[in-house]
Symmetry: C2
Subunit: 290 residues, 2 copies
């Protein structure tokens, strides 16, 4: 079993109140916000060999904004904890990156923390405004829901391979470095949906999204491989490759029709598990603790 899942099981058992554990974002409905926390650790999530301080910062903030968009909320604030063996240049370049992404996605930086340490470690909390929006939950998918995506799959995994093998493929390297997010599609889903929906970003890969939604909603999900938007020919990258930050959503068919920019790749039915072209498929993604 994937150790991360095992740890989450332990956490759920140990916390007396764990109703919020499960989705990437917590929906605090009284405060009209959704909120998430995510860490990026040097040599686990990024390498300073391939990325400058500015690029690391951009990526760190983008992946957190992506979590908020996947919840259906409007990204609004972020807090940034940065630790490591920091110097003036690193801090300045890092915050240049933060500033440019914050500006692009209209996010205000409302707090931070600086500490020393060996390796660079970044923890970002992102906050979204959920007012007048329907918020996602992995538990929300239902039979006959359509499985649809916005964005493409496998490019980041291929881009990473290019970087590691020193292959000069500008397209994939750029894709790996800075994911493009889909705020308009997220907003359309959150504002136009009349029914509950389950949305995730593909930070841990397409399969992980399908697996989580299928498990939490207790449904079978089948997708058609040919319908997945992709540029790479490597099937493992398309299905299991992470860090694309595309949106994956299980949505009512009437709502699906109203949203521009979504492409159907499959559907939900009674049963369990993830199927690709009606063939049962198992977990094989990136595992933090194995």
């Amino acid at each position: 079993m994937n150790k991360e899942f095992e740890f989450i099981k332990i956490i759920k058992k140990t916390l007396e109140n764990s109703k919020y554990i499960g989705d990437d974002c917590a929906n605090l409905s009284k405060q009209n916000i959704t909120i998430s926390i995510d860490s990026l650790i040097e040599d686990v999530h990024f390498s300073r060999k391939y990325m400058t301080a500015e690029e690391i910062a951009k990526k760190a903030l983008i992946v957190n904004i992506s979590d908020i968009l996947a919840s259906g909320a409007k990204p609004k604030y972020a807090l940034i904890a940065l630790s490591g063996n920091l110097d003036k240049n690193f801090v300045q370049d890092f915050y240049k990156g933060i500033n440019s992404v914050a500006k692009k996605y209209k996010v205000e930086i409302v707090g931070g923390d600086l500490t020393s340490g060996d390796k660079i470690s970044i923890s970002i909390t992102a906050i979204g405004d959920s007012k007048k929006r329907r918020i996602s939950s992995r538990k929300n998918a239902k039979e006959d829901y359509i499985v649809a995506v916005c964005g493409e799959f496998g490019s980041s995994a291929e881009g990473l391979e290019c970087l590691e093998k020193n292959i000069n493929n500008e397209y994939f390297i750029q894709k790996h470095k800075l994911p493009e997010l889909f705020p308009k599609t997220s907003e359309a889903i959150a504002k136009k949906s009349k029914h509950p929906y389950a949305m995730m970003d593909s930070s841990d890969g397409l399969f992980d999204c399908l697996y989580q939604i299928s498990k939490e909603s207790n449904l079978k999900i089948n997708i058609e491989y040919d319908k997945i938007p992709k540029k790479t020919k490597n099937k493992d990258f398309v299905i299991y490759g992470g860090e694309d930050y595309a949106l994956v959503v299980a949505i009512h068919k009437d709502d699906f029709k109203k949203i521009k920019g979504l492409k159907q790749i499959g559907s939900c039915s009674s049963g369990q598990g993830v199927y690709i072209d009606e063939k049962k498929t198992e977990y094989k993604g990136f595992k933090h603790f194995e």
Copy 2:
């Protein structure tokens, strides 16, 4: 100059919108919340030689709750990012500690993140409810304000020394391990004050609080050494020692009279800098980056 201050200067210059940088908590008044982020890094903030996973977790959550209390808000939610070379036992013991502190201070854990890494690193975001409360800012002190405290100073620094020198002094070791917070005093200040006030916790020492408030409010602060609540005889520990999590507040004299549990140690006047018994005193605290 202290490197952390220098870094914060750089950040303020680099971010186009940095109005929230300055206080430990950001006051998001539209959402009726205050929010803060804080990291604890192995061998910088704690050592596994002296503390179990459960104790580390308790301390990590307590220091974040302390930030919320120092803002004047009511601690309500927390998100926890944990990274390191984790195993089942560590995760379980860590979350036992989280659960017990969460229960004690009525805080809900609404999110988390687990990642691998070399050393243990913990980032916690705490959220407080600011509804019907007056929220602190370091800029709020004014001439003739009273400087008062709740809690005592120097015990944690002495406790740490006992631990490091292997002196078996149960009282100080306990004090160092698990600070007691002051939710009732914080609530009384936030609810009863008719005037703006400046409050901090003494996580970085008494002097740091006085220095920050004096600088941000552009005032002279004078305190009387004999009036500081303390058990240790080491003056450096009392003035500069961190991690006591006592409350330090500059407050209007009419409001001061209404609050139980506060002890006056000094006052604000026109001028600049921190004075102890009318002698100008300079910064000498724990510096993360020097």
